[in-house]
Symmetry: C2
Subunit: 249 residues, 2 copies
Amino acid sequence: MAYDGTRYAGFQVQPNAPTVQGELERALTELCNEPVRITGAGRTDAGVHATGQVINFRTASALDGERIGRGVNALVPADIAISAVEPVGEDFHARYSATGRTYEYRIRNGPERHPLERHREHWLPVPLDRSALDRATRLLHGRHDFAAFAAGEGGVREVRSATWSAQEELLRFEITADAFLRGMVRAIVGTLLWVGRGRIGVEDFGALIEARDRSKAGPSAPANGLCLISVEYGGRQRNTMRRNEDDEE
Amino acid sequence: MAYDGTRYAGFQVQPNAPTVQGELERALTELCNEPVRITGAGRTDAGVHATGQVINFRTASALDGERIGRGVNALVPADIAISAVEPVGEDFHARYSATGRTYEYRIRNGPERHPLERHREHWLPVPLDRSALDRATRLLHGRHDFAAFAAGEGGVREVRSATWSAQEELLRFEITADAFLRGMVRAIVGTLLWVGRGRIGVEDFGALIEARDRSKAGPSAPANGLCLISVEYGGRQRNTMRRNEDDEE
Protein backbone atom coordinates (compact mmCIF):
# COMPACT_ATOMS: atom_id res chain seq x y z
CA MET A 1 0.00 0.00 0.00
CA ALA A 2 0.98 3.63 -0.42
CA TYR A 3 0.33 6.91 1.34
CA ASP A 4 1.25 10.53 1.37
CA GLY A 5 2.21 10.95 5.03
CA THR A 6 2.05 14.75 4.99
CA ARG A 7 -1.14 15.22 6.99
CA TYR A 8 -0.79 12.18 9.26
CA ALA A 9 0.65 11.96 12.76
CA GLY A 10 2.35 8.78 11.54
CA PHE A 11 1.36 5.26 10.60
CA GLN A 12 0.52 3.98 14.06
CA VAL A 13 -2.82 4.70 15.69
CA GLN A 14 -2.85 7.32 18.43
CA PRO A 15 -5.69 9.15 20.12
CA ASN A 16 -6.96 12.43 18.69
CA ALA A 17 -4.66 12.51 15.68
CA PRO A 18 -5.13 11.36 12.09
CA THR A 19 -3.07 8.23 11.38
CA VAL A 20 -2.77 5.91 8.42
CA GLN A 21 -3.59 2.91 10.58
CA GLY A 22 -6.65 4.70 11.92
CA GLU A 23 -7.98 5.43 8.44
CA LEU A 24 -7.36 1.86 7.28
CA GLU A 25 -8.98 0.28 10.34
CA ARG A 26 -12.01 2.53 10.01
CA ALA A 27 -12.42 1.54 6.34
CA LEU A 28 -11.82 -2.17 6.94
CA THR A 29 -14.16 -2.26 9.92
CA GLU A 30 -16.93 -0.71 7.83
CA LEU A 31 -16.24 -2.94 4.84
CA CYS A 32 -15.88 -6.21 6.73
CA ASN A 33 -18.70 -5.40 9.12
CA GLU A 34 -16.64 -6.36 12.15
CA PRO A 35 -13.85 -4.66 14.13
CA VAL A 36 -10.57 -5.00 12.22
CA ARG A 37 -7.10 -4.22 13.56
CA ILE A 38 -4.12 -4.06 11.23
CA THR A 39 -0.38 -4.56 11.61
CA GLY A 40 2.04 -2.61 9.43
CA ALA A 41 5.53 -3.69 8.39
CA GLY A 42 6.95 -0.24 9.11
CA ARG A 43 5.61 2.19 11.68
CA THR A 44 6.53 5.33 9.81
CA ASP A 45 6.69 8.66 11.65
CA ALA A 46 4.59 11.77 11.08
CA GLY A 47 5.11 13.14 7.58
CA VAL A 48 6.93 10.04 6.29
CA HIS A 49 5.52 8.47 3.12
CA ALA A 50 5.20 4.96 1.75
CA THR A 51 4.89 3.46 -1.70
CA GLY A 52 5.60 -0.10 -0.57
CA GLN A 53 4.12 -0.49 2.91
CA VAL A 54 2.68 -3.92 3.78
CA ILE A 55 -0.09 -4.52 6.30
CA ASN A 56 -1.90 -7.62 7.50
CA PHE A 57 -5.23 -8.14 9.20
CA ARG A 58 -7.59 -10.96 10.07
CA THR A 59 -11.25 -10.99 9.13
CA ALA A 60 -14.15 -13.42 8.93
CA SER A 61 -15.52 -11.44 5.99
CA ALA A 62 -16.36 -13.51 2.90
CA LEU A 63 -15.14 -10.72 0.59
CA ASP A 64 -12.22 -11.71 -1.60
CA GLY A 65 -8.97 -9.73 -1.85
CA GLU A 66 -9.92 -7.75 -4.90
CA ARG A 67 -13.20 -6.61 -3.38
CA ILE A 68 -11.53 -5.69 -0.13
CA GLY A 69 -8.90 -3.68 -2.05
CA ARG A 70 -11.49 -1.80 -4.09
CA GLY A 71 -13.71 -1.31 -1.08
CA VAL A 72 -10.94 0.10 1.10
CA ASN A 73 -9.79 2.39 -1.71
CA ALA A 74 -13.32 3.75 -1.98
CA LEU A 75 -13.48 4.41 1.78
CA VAL A 76 -10.06 5.86 2.61
CA PRO A 77 -8.98 9.44 1.81
CA ALA A 78 -7.19 10.13 -1.49
CA ASP A 79 -3.79 10.22 0.22
CA ILE A 80 -3.96 6.48 1.03
CA ALA A 81 -4.20 3.63 -1.48
CA ILE A 82 -4.17 -0.15 -1.40
CA SER A 83 -2.24 -1.75 -4.28
CA ALA A 84 -3.10 -5.41 -3.79
CA VAL A 85 -4.69 -7.73 -1.25
CA GLU A 86 -3.91 -11.41 -0.91
CA PRO A 87 -4.61 -14.16 1.61
CA VAL A 88 -1.73 -15.21 3.86
CA GLY A 89 -1.14 -17.97 6.37
CA GLU A 90 -2.06 -17.65 10.03
CA ASP A 91 1.59 -17.23 10.95
CA PHE A 92 2.21 -14.25 8.67
CA HIS A 93 2.99 -11.03 10.51
CA ALA A 94 3.64 -7.94 8.37
CA ARG A 95 6.37 -6.76 10.72
CA TYR A 96 7.87 -9.88 12.29
CA SER A 97 7.83 -11.92 9.07
CA ALA A 98 9.58 -9.18 7.08
CA THR A 99 13.17 -10.01 6.20
CA GLY A 100 14.12 -6.67 4.70
CA ARG A 101 12.98 -3.07 4.27
CA THR A 102 14.04 -0.43 1.80
CA TYR A 103 13.66 3.29 2.37
CA GLU A 104 14.49 6.16 0.07
CA TYR A 105 15.31 9.71 1.08
CA ARG A 106 14.95 12.48 -1.51
CA ILE A 107 16.92 15.70 -1.41
CA ARG A 108 16.44 18.56 -3.86
CA ASN A 109 19.98 19.88 -3.99
CA GLY A 110 19.71 23.07 -6.00
CA PRO A 111 19.20 26.79 -5.55
CA GLU A 112 15.46 26.85 -6.27
CA ARG A 113 12.55 25.70 -4.15
CA HIS A 114 10.24 23.34 -6.03
CA PRO A 115 6.71 23.88 -4.69
CA LEU A 116 5.31 20.80 -6.42
CA GLU A 117 7.81 18.53 -4.66
CA ARG A 118 7.73 20.18 -1.23
CA HIS A 119 5.97 17.30 0.51
CA ARG A 120 8.21 14.67 -1.05
CA GLU A 121 11.69 16.16 -1.13
CA HIS A 122 13.89 17.86 1.42
CA TRP A 123 15.18 21.06 -0.17
CA LEU A 124 18.84 21.74 0.58
CA PRO A 125 20.30 24.62 -1.43
CA VAL A 126 23.92 24.16 -0.32
CA PRO A 127 26.81 22.42 -2.10
CA LEU A 128 27.37 18.78 -1.10
CA ASP A 129 30.55 16.76 -1.48
CA ARG A 130 29.17 13.74 -3.29
CA SER A 131 32.42 11.80 -3.05
CA ALA A 132 32.61 12.23 0.73
CA LEU A 133 28.92 11.28 0.99
CA ASP A 134 29.57 8.07 -0.94
CA ARG A 135 32.63 7.14 1.11
CA ALA A 136 30.86 7.71 4.43
CA THR A 137 27.82 5.80 3.19
CA ARG A 138 29.93 2.71 2.50
CA LEU A 139 30.82 2.59 6.20
CA LEU A 140 27.17 1.78 6.96
CA HIS A 141 27.28 -1.55 5.17
CA GLY A 142 27.16 -4.75 7.19
CA ARG A 143 26.16 -5.55 10.75
CA HIS A 144 26.56 -2.80 13.32
CA ASP A 145 24.92 -1.69 16.52
CA PHE A 146 23.30 1.44 15.11
CA ALA A 147 22.60 3.04 18.50
CA ALA A 148 24.23 6.22 17.16
CA PHE A 149 21.21 6.67 14.92
CA ALA A 150 18.42 5.32 17.12
CA ALA A 151 15.66 7.50 18.58
CA GLY A 152 15.15 4.81 21.21
CA GLU A 153 17.30 1.83 22.18
CA GLY A 154 20.13 0.65 19.96
CA GLY A 155 20.54 -2.79 18.44
CA VAL A 156 22.43 -4.69 15.74
CA ARG A 157 20.99 -4.32 12.28
CA GLU A 158 22.42 -5.43 8.94
CA VAL A 159 22.58 -2.78 6.23
CA ARG A 160 22.64 -4.69 2.95
CA SER A 161 22.92 -1.73 0.65
CA ALA A 162 23.06 2.04 0.94
CA THR A 163 23.66 4.22 -2.10
CA TRP A 164 23.20 7.73 -3.44
CA SER A 165 22.09 8.43 -6.97
CA ALA A 166 21.56 11.75 -8.69
CA GLN A 167 19.26 12.87 -11.46
CA GLU A 168 19.95 16.52 -12.13
CA GLU A 169 19.24 18.28 -8.81
CA LEU A 170 17.44 15.34 -7.23
CA LEU A 171 19.61 13.26 -4.88
CA ARG A 172 18.15 9.90 -3.86
CA PHE A 173 19.49 7.92 -0.93
CA GLU A 174 18.32 4.32 -0.89
CA ILE A 175 19.01 2.01 2.03
CA THR A 176 18.09 -1.64 2.58
CA ALA A 177 18.47 -3.46 5.89
CA ASP A 178 16.96 -6.46 7.62
CA ALA A 179 15.22 -3.95 9.87
CA PHE A 180 15.72 -0.40 11.11
CA LEU A 181 15.83 1.09 14.56
CA ARG A 182 13.35 3.83 15.30
CA GLY A 183 14.40 7.09 13.60
CA MET A 184 17.44 5.38 12.05
CA VAL A 185 17.17 6.47 8.42
CA ARG A 186 16.54 10.12 9.18
CA ALA A 187 19.41 10.20 11.70
CA ILE A 188 21.72 8.55 9.17
CA VAL A 189 20.74 11.03 6.46
CA GLY A 190 21.09 14.01 8.80
CA THR A 191 24.55 12.86 9.83
CA LEU A 192 25.60 12.04 6.26
CA LEU A 193 24.60 15.60 5.35
CA TRP A 194 27.11 16.81 7.94
CA VAL A 195 29.70 14.88 5.93
CA GLY A 196 28.39 16.19 2.60
CA ARG A 197 28.58 19.77 3.86
CA GLY A 198 32.10 19.26 5.22
CA ARG A 199 31.12 19.74 8.85
CA ILE A 200 32.69 16.38 9.76
CA GLY A 201 35.01 14.07 7.84
CA VAL A 202 34.38 10.55 6.55
CA GLU A 203 36.50 9.13 9.39
CA ASP A 204 34.47 11.09 11.92
CA PHE A 205 31.34 9.48 10.51
CA GLY A 206 32.88 6.04 11.06
CA ALA A 207 33.81 7.02 14.61
CA LEU A 208 30.24 8.19 15.26
CA ILE A 209 28.90 4.77 14.29
CA GLU A 210 31.40 3.14 16.64
CA ALA A 211 30.58 5.49 19.51
CA ARG A 212 26.92 4.33 19.54
CA ASP A 213 25.94 7.66 21.08
CA ARG A 214 22.92 9.35 19.48
CA SER A 215 23.82 12.68 21.03
CA LYS A 216 27.06 12.83 19.01
CA ALA A 217 25.45 12.19 15.63
CA GLY A 218 23.70 14.75 13.45
CA PRO A 219 20.09 15.95 13.57
CA SER A 220 17.30 13.92 12.01
CA ALA A 221 16.71 14.90 8.41
CA PRO A 222 13.14 16.22 7.90
CA ALA A 223 10.36 13.65 7.55
CA ASN A 224 9.10 14.86 4.15
CA GLY A 225 12.06 13.37 2.25
CA LEU A 226 11.56 9.84 3.59
CA CYS A 227 9.54 7.06 1.96
CA LEU A 228 9.22 3.34 2.71
CA ILE A 229 9.50 1.89 -0.77
CA SER A 230 9.52 -1.87 -0.20
CA VAL A 231 9.33 -4.67 2.34
CA GLU A 232 10.84 -8.04 1.66
CA TYR A 233 9.53 -11.42 2.83
CA GLY A 234 11.29 -14.73 2.46
CA GLY A 235 14.84 -14.98 1.17
CA ARG A 236 17.09 -14.95 4.20
CA GLN A 237 14.31 -15.66 6.66
CA ARG A 238 14.67 -14.22 10.12
CA ASN A 239 13.22 -15.49 13.32
CA THR A 240 9.57 -14.63 12.87
CA MET A 241 9.28 -13.43 16.45
CA ARG A 242 11.56 -10.50 16.93
CA ARG A 243 11.66 -8.87 20.28
CA ASN A 244 12.44 -5.24 19.63
CA GLU A 245 8.99 -3.66 19.53
CA ASP A 246 10.63 -0.28 19.17
CA ASP A 247 11.71 -0.88 15.60
CA GLU A 248 11.06 1.15 12.54
CA GLU A 249 10.99 4.69 11.29
CA MET B 1 8.26 31.06 -11.07
CA ALA B 2 6.57 27.87 -9.94
CA TYR B 3 3.50 26.93 -7.99
CA ASP B 4 1.43 24.01 -6.87
CA GLY B 5 -2.01 25.13 -8.06
CA THR B 6 -3.93 22.63 -5.93
CA ARG B 7 -5.34 25.02 -3.37
CA TYR B 8 -5.72 28.07 -5.61
CA ALA B 9 -8.78 29.26 -7.52
CA GLY B 10 -6.37 29.89 -10.39
CA PHE B 11 -3.59 32.30 -11.25
CA GLN B 12 -5.68 35.40 -11.79
CA VAL B 13 -6.90 37.50 -8.89
CA GLN B 14 -10.55 37.18 -7.96
CA PRO B 15 -12.50 38.31 -4.90
CA ASN B 16 -12.83 36.00 -1.89
CA ALA B 17 -10.67 33.19 -3.28
CA PRO B 18 -6.99 32.35 -2.90
CA THR B 19 -5.09 33.02 -6.12
CA VAL B 20 -1.44 32.89 -7.09
CA GLN B 21 -1.57 36.47 -8.33
CA GLY B 22 -3.15 37.56 -5.06
CA GLU B 23 -0.38 35.96 -2.99
CA LEU B 24 2.35 37.45 -5.17
CA GLU B 25 0.85 40.93 -5.14
CA ARG B 26 0.43 40.84 -1.38
CA ALA B 27 4.09 39.82 -0.94
CA LEU B 28 5.42 42.32 -3.48
CA THR B 29 3.32 45.14 -2.06
CA GLU B 30 4.72 44.48 1.40
CA LEU B 31 8.27 44.07 0.17
CA CYS B 32 8.33 47.07 -2.16
CA ASN B 33 6.34 49.24 0.23
CA GLU B 34 3.96 50.37 -2.51
CA PRO B 35 1.00 48.78 -4.29
CA VAL B 36 2.27 46.31 -6.88
CA ARG B 37 0.18 44.68 -9.60
CA ILE B 38 1.59 41.80 -11.62
CA THR B 39 0.93 40.36 -15.07
CA GLY B 40 1.38 36.65 -15.73
CA ALA B 41 2.26 35.01 -19.04
CA GLY B 42 -0.36 32.31 -18.54
CA ARG B 43 -3.57 32.70 -16.57
CA THR B 44 -3.78 29.14 -15.40
CA ASP B 45 -7.08 27.76 -14.11
CA ALA B 46 -7.89 26.46 -10.63
CA GLY B 47 -5.76 23.43 -9.78
CA VAL B 48 -3.33 23.91 -12.69
CA HIS B 49 0.36 24.07 -11.81
CA ALA B 50 3.39 25.90 -13.13
CA THR B 51 7.11 25.28 -13.08
CA GLY B 52 7.92 27.91 -15.72
CA GLN B 53 5.43 30.75 -15.26
CA VAL B 54 6.70 34.27 -16.00
CA ILE B 55 5.33 37.44 -14.42
CA ASN B 56 6.22 41.11 -14.72
CA PHE B 57 5.60 44.09 -12.49
CA ARG B 58 6.70 47.67 -12.12
CA THR B 59 8.07 49.13 -8.92
CA ALA B 60 9.95 52.19 -7.74
CA SER B 61 11.63 50.04 -5.07
CA ALA B 62 15.41 50.29 -4.92
CA LEU B 63 15.72 46.56 -4.11
CA ASP B 64 17.62 44.55 -6.70
CA GLY B 65 16.29 41.39 -8.34
CA GLU B 66 17.97 38.95 -6.01
CA ARG B 67 16.62 40.71 -2.92
CA ILE B 68 13.15 40.89 -4.38
CA GLY B 69 13.28 37.16 -5.21
CA ARG B 70 14.44 36.20 -1.73
CA GLY B 71 12.00 38.59 -0.12
CA VAL B 72 9.01 37.30 -2.06
CA ASN B 73 9.99 33.70 -1.36
CA ALA B 74 10.05 34.48 2.35
CA LEU B 75 6.59 36.08 2.22
CA VAL B 76 4.59 33.72 -0.04
CA PRO B 77 3.24 30.31 1.06
CA ALA B 78 5.38 27.21 0.46
CA ASP B 79 3.34 26.27 -2.63
CA ILE B 80 4.65 29.30 -4.56
CA ALA B 81 8.29 30.03 -5.42
CA ILE B 82 10.17 32.64 -7.42
CA SER B 83 13.12 31.22 -9.39
CA ALA B 84 14.74 34.38 -10.69
CA VAL B 85 14.07 38.09 -10.98
CA GLU B 86 15.58 40.36 -13.61
CA PRO B 87 15.00 43.89 -14.88
CA VAL B 88 13.20 44.25 -18.22
CA GLY B 89 12.43 47.14 -20.57
CA GLU B 90 9.33 49.30 -20.23
CA ASP B 91 7.76 47.57 -23.22
CA PHE B 92 8.02 44.05 -21.80
CA HIS B 93 4.69 42.42 -21.06
CA ALA B 94 4.77 38.88 -19.65
CA ARG B 95 1.74 37.85 -21.72
CA TYR B 96 1.82 39.99 -24.85
CA SER B 97 5.59 39.73 -25.36
CA ALA B 98 5.57 35.93 -25.05
CA THR B 99 6.18 34.15 -28.35
CA GLY B 100 5.55 30.62 -27.15
CA ARG B 101 4.22 28.57 -24.25
CA THR B 102 4.75 24.94 -23.35
CA TYR B 103 2.39 22.92 -21.18
CA GLU B 104 2.71 19.36 -20.00
CA TYR B 105 -0.13 17.07 -19.00
CA ARG B 106 0.67 14.02 -16.84
CA ILE B 107 -1.41 10.88 -16.82
CA ARG B 108 -0.78 7.92 -14.52
CA ASN B 109 -1.92 5.12 -16.78
CA GLY B 110 -1.85 2.05 -14.56
CA PRO B 111 -4.09 0.04 -12.28
CA GLU B 112 -2.92 1.60 -9.00
CA ARG B 113 -3.64 4.99 -7.53
CA HIS B 114 -0.48 6.82 -6.49
CA PRO B 115 -1.32 9.00 -3.48
CA LEU B 116 1.95 10.90 -3.62
CA GLU B 117 1.28 12.04 -7.18
CA ARG B 118 -2.42 12.75 -6.84
CA HIS B 119 -2.13 16.53 -7.16
CA ARG B 120 0.21 16.33 -10.13
CA GLU B 121 -1.05 13.44 -12.26
CA HIS B 122 -4.43 12.48 -13.63
CA TRP B 123 -4.96 8.80 -12.80
CA LEU B 124 -6.53 6.83 -15.63
CA PRO B 125 -6.58 3.06 -15.01
CA VAL B 126 -7.83 2.05 -18.46
CA PRO B 127 -5.91 0.79 -21.49
CA LEU B 128 -4.93 3.49 -24.00
CA ASP B 129 -4.06 2.98 -27.66
CA ARG B 130 -0.74 4.83 -27.79
CA SER B 131 -0.46 4.55 -31.56
CA ALA B 132 -3.89 6.12 -32.11
CA LEU B 133 -3.02 8.83 -29.56
CA ASP B 134 0.16 9.65 -31.47
CA ARG B 135 -1.57 9.75 -34.84
CA ALA B 136 -4.36 12.02 -33.61
CA THR B 137 -1.83 14.25 -31.86
CA ARG B 138 0.00 14.87 -35.12
CA LEU B 139 -3.19 16.40 -36.54
CA LEU B 140 -2.81 19.25 -34.03
CA HIS B 141 0.41 20.51 -35.57
CA GLY B 142 0.38 23.79 -37.47
CA ARG B 143 -2.01 26.72 -37.65
CA HIS B 144 -5.67 25.97 -36.96
CA ASP B 145 -8.66 27.74 -35.54
CA PHE B 146 -8.87 25.73 -32.33
CA ALA B 147 -12.44 26.77 -31.48
CA ALA B 148 -13.23 23.08 -30.96
CA PHE B 149 -11.08 23.20 -27.82
CA ALA B 150 -11.81 26.72 -26.56
CA ALA B 151 -13.70 27.43 -23.35
CA GLY B 152 -14.44 30.90 -24.77
CA GLU B 153 -14.04 32.28 -28.29
CA GLY B 154 -12.02 30.44 -30.90
CA GLY B 155 -9.01 31.76 -32.80
CA VAL B 156 -6.08 30.67 -34.90
CA ARG B 157 -3.12 29.39 -32.95
CA GLU B 158 0.03 27.64 -34.14
CA VAL B 159 0.91 24.36 -32.45
CA ARG B 160 4.65 23.92 -32.96
CA SER B 161 4.98 20.58 -31.26
CA ALA B 162 2.75 18.11 -29.45
CA THR B 163 4.07 14.76 -28.32
CA TRP B 164 3.45 11.94 -25.88
CA SER B 165 6.22 10.20 -24.00
CA ALA B 166 6.03 7.33 -21.54
CA GLN B 167 8.13 6.35 -18.57
CA GLU B 168 6.68 3.18 -17.13
CA GLU B 169 3.09 4.08 -16.18
CA LEU B 170 3.58 7.83 -16.47
CA LEU B 171 2.36 9.31 -19.76
CA ARG B 172 3.48 12.87 -20.47
CA PHE B 173 1.83 15.03 -23.10
CA GLU B 174 3.86 18.11 -24.02
CA ILE B 175 2.50 20.81 -26.27
CA THR B 176 4.08 24.05 -27.49
CA ALA B 177 2.20 26.79 -29.31
CA ASP B 178 2.55 30.51 -29.91
CA ALA B 179 -0.39 30.90 -27.51
CA PHE B 180 -3.34 28.88 -26.26
CA LEU B 181 -7.04 29.61 -26.17
CA ARG B 182 -8.70 29.45 -22.79
CA GLY B 183 -9.12 25.79 -21.69
CA MET B 184 -7.42 24.56 -24.86
CA VAL B 185 -4.89 22.09 -23.48
CA ARG B 186 -7.33 20.33 -21.17
CA ALA B 187 -9.94 20.09 -23.94
CA ILE B 188 -7.32 18.68 -26.32
CA VAL B 189 -6.19 16.11 -23.75
CA GLY B 190 -9.77 15.15 -22.88
CA THR B 191 -10.56 14.62 -26.54
CA LEU B 192 -7.31 12.78 -27.25
CA LEU B 193 -8.25 10.43 -24.41
CA TRP B 194 -11.46 9.64 -26.32
CA VAL B 195 -9.17 8.55 -29.15
CA GLY B 196 -6.86 6.61 -26.83
CA ARG B 197 -9.82 4.75 -25.34
CA GLY B 198 -11.25 3.97 -28.78
CA ARG B 199 -14.38 6.01 -28.30
CA ILE B 200 -13.64 7.95 -31.50
CA GLY B 201 -11.18 7.30 -34.33
CA VAL B 202 -8.20 9.34 -35.42
CA GLU B 203 -10.16 10.68 -38.41
CA ASP B 204 -12.98 11.72 -36.11
CA PHE B 205 -10.46 13.71 -34.10
CA GLY B 206 -9.39 15.52 -37.28
CA ALA B 207 -13.03 16.19 -38.14
CA LEU B 208 -13.60 17.61 -34.64
CA ILE B 209 -10.79 20.12 -35.13
CA GLU B 210 -12.31 21.14 -38.49
CA ALA B 211 -15.82 21.45 -37.02
CA ARG B 212 -14.66 24.16 -34.59
CA ASP B 213 -17.53 23.25 -32.29
CA ARG B 214 -16.58 22.86 -28.61
CA SER B 215 -19.77 20.93 -27.88
CA LYS B 216 -18.66 18.10 -30.19
CA ALA B 217 -15.22 17.62 -28.61
CA GLY B 218 -14.46 15.68 -25.44
CA PRO B 219 -14.61 16.82 -21.82
CA SER B 220 -11.81 18.85 -20.28
CA ALA B 221 -9.20 16.63 -18.68
CA PRO B 222 -8.89 17.34 -14.92
CA ALA B 223 -6.82 20.34 -13.88
CA ASN B 224 -4.40 18.43 -11.64
CA GLY B 225 -2.49 16.89 -14.59
CA LEU B 226 -1.69 20.22 -16.22
CA CYS B 227 1.44 22.31 -15.71
CA LEU B 228 2.79 25.39 -17.50
CA ILE B 229 6.43 24.43 -17.91
CA SER B 230 7.91 27.26 -19.99
CA VAL B 231 7.25 30.55 -21.71
CA GLU B 232 9.34 31.71 -24.62
CA TYR B 233 10.31 35.29 -25.48
CA GLY B 234 12.08 36.40 -28.63
CA GLY B 235 12.65 34.09 -31.53
CA ARG B 236 9.72 34.50 -33.87
CA GLN B 237 8.48 37.67 -32.24
CA ARG B 238 4.75 38.26 -32.34
CA ASN B 239 2.95 41.52 -32.34
CA THR B 240 3.43 42.68 -28.75
CA MET B 241 -0.15 43.86 -28.51
CA ARG B 242 -2.44 40.93 -29.01
CA ARG B 243 -6.12 41.53 -28.81
CA ASN B 244 -7.53 38.31 -27.44
CA GLU B 245 -7.74 38.99 -23.72
CA ASP B 246 -9.37 35.64 -23.25
CA ASP B 247 -6.22 33.65 -23.90
CA GLU B 248 -4.61 31.00 -21.77
CA GLU B 249 -5.40 27.98 -19.70
